[in-house]
C-alpha cells in the first residue's frame, strides 16, 4: 500500500473509532437520564 494511502486510511480509522467514541460519550452524557436509561436498556415488546 502506498505511504500516502496508508496514512489516509489510518487517519480515517482513527477519526471513525476515537472520534465516534468521543462524540458518543459526550452525547450520552448530555442526554436526559430517561433517554440514556432507555438507550442502555431498550424495552422489548411482549411477544
Amino acid at each position: 500500500m502506498p505511504e500516502r494511502l496508508r496514512r489516509v486510511v489510518g487517519i480515517l480509522l482513527i477519526l471513525s473509532a476515537i472520534g465516534v467514541a468521543a462524540w458518543q460519550s459526550l452525547l450520552v452524557s448530555c442526554a436526559s437520564p430517561t433517554a440514556a436509561a432507555n438507550a442502555r436498556a431498550p424495552v422489548v415488546a411482549p411477544g
Binding site: L12, A21, A22, S25, L26
Partner: protein, 291 residues
C-alpha cells in the same frame, strides 16, 4: 437548547483547533521523511485533538452525578493523553530504547475501548472492536517501532537517524530563511542548494552506508550554511552593504560547488561498489567454470 449550544461550542472549538493544525502543517511544509519519524511540532497532534469531547463528557457526567460515565470518560481521557504523549515522543525521538510508539498506540486502543464501554455503555465486544479499529488506525498512520534502536523500514541506526533528522531540520531552516531574502538571483541559488541538499539526504536515507562519507557534509557544511543564510536574511533588510551581498554570493557559489562535489562523490561510491560486486560475481562464475 442549552445542550445544543454546548455541542455547537465544542464543535466550533474543535473546528478552530483543526484549522490551526492545518495552517501549521501547511506552513511547515510537512513531508513524510525517514519513515514516519520526521521531527515536527505537529507530530501526533491528531491524537490530542480527536478525543477532546471526552473531558467535556466527563465534566457533564460529574455535574449530573453519573458515576460510571464519569469514571469511564476520566479513565479513557487519561489513557488517551498518555497514549498520545507516548506516540508523539516516539515520532520525535526515533530509534530510542523503548518501543514508545507501539506502547502509545496500545494505550490509545485501550482508551478507545474504555470510553466506548464505560463512557458510552457499549457491550464489551463492541468496545473491543472500537479499540482494535483505533489500534489499526494508529499502526497505519504512525507505524510501530518494535525494532528498537533501528528503523523498521530503512534499517537506519538510531545515531544515523538523528543525524539525518538534524540535517533535515537544517535544510528546512535554510528554506525558511531564504524566503526572507528578496533578491531573485540569490533566491534561485539558494533553491538550487536546497535541492542539492535534499537529493544528497535522500541518497543517504536510501543507502546509510554512505553516511560515513557524508558526515562532514551533515555536521559541518549544512550547519554553516544554515547559520550564514539565517544571519544574512536578518541583516540584509536593515543595512545596505554591497560588499556583504557580494561575499554572500561568493559563499553561495562555493557552497553549491561543494554540494555538487558531495553528490558526485556519493554517485562515484555507488559505481565503485557496483564495480566490486561485478568483479566478485565474475570471479565466482569463473571458479564454477561457467565462463
Amino acid at each position: 437548547m442549552p445542550r445544543l449550544l454546548l455541542l455547537a461550542a465544542v464543535a466550533l472549538i474543535t473546528a478552530a483547533l483543526l484549522r490551526l493544525l492545518w495552517k501549521r502543517v501547511r506552513n511547515h511544509g510537512w513531508r513524510p521523511r525517514f519513515g514516519a519519524t520526521q521531527p515536527s511540532s505537529v507530530a501526533g497532534l491528531l491524537l490530542f485533538l480527536v478525543p477532546l469531547p471526552i473531558p467535556v463528557a466527563a465534566a457533564v457526567s460529574l455535574a449530573r452525578g453519573q458515576l460510571m460515565p464519569l469514571l469511564g470518560n476520566a479513565i479513557g481521557y487519561a489513557l488517551f493523553l498518555g497514549g498520545a504523549l507516548l506516540v508523539r515522543r516516539g515520532l520525535l525521538r526515533a530509534g530510542g530504547q523503548w518501543p514508545v510508539k507501539t506502547l502509545g498506540s496500545a494505550l490509545i486502543g485501550l482508551a478507545t475501548g474504555a470510553t466506548a464501554w464505560l463512557g458510552v455503555d457499549h457491550p464489551p465486544a463492541i468496545a473491543a472492536a472500537f479499540a482494535l479499529v483505533a489500534l489499526l488506525g494508529c499502526y497505519l498512520t504512525y507505524g510501530f517501532d518494535l525494532h528498537t534502536g533501528r528503523d523498521l523500514h530503512t534499517g537506519v541506526g538510531a545515531q544515523a537517524l538523528t543525524m539525518l533528522a538534524q540535517a533535515d531540520r537544517s535544510i528546512a531552516a535554510i528554506e525558511q530563511a531564504s524566503r526572507d531574502i528578496h533578491q531573485p538571483e540569490l533566491g534561485a541559488r539558494l533553491r538550487r542548494i536546497i535541492g542539492l541538499a535534499r537529493t544528497i539526504l535522500d541518497r543517504l536515507e536510501e543507502d546509510p552506508r554512505d553516511l560515513r562519507r557524508a558526515r562532514k557534509f551533515l555536521n559541518v557544511y549544512l550547519d554553516g550554511v544554515q547559520n550564514v543564510v539565517e544571519d544574512y536574511a536578518k541583516t540584509h533588510n536593515r543595512i545596505i552593504a554591497p560588499e556583504l551581498d557580494e561575499r554572500f554570493r561568493h559563499a553561495l557559489i562555493t557552497v553549491e560547488d561543494v554540494f555538487r562535489e558531495q553528490q558526485q562523490t556519493l554517485l562515484e561510491s555507488d559505481v565503485e561498489q557496483l564495480d566490486v560486486k561485478i568483479e566478485v560475481l565474475t570471479q565466482q562464475l569463473k571458479r564454477e567454470g561457467i565462463i
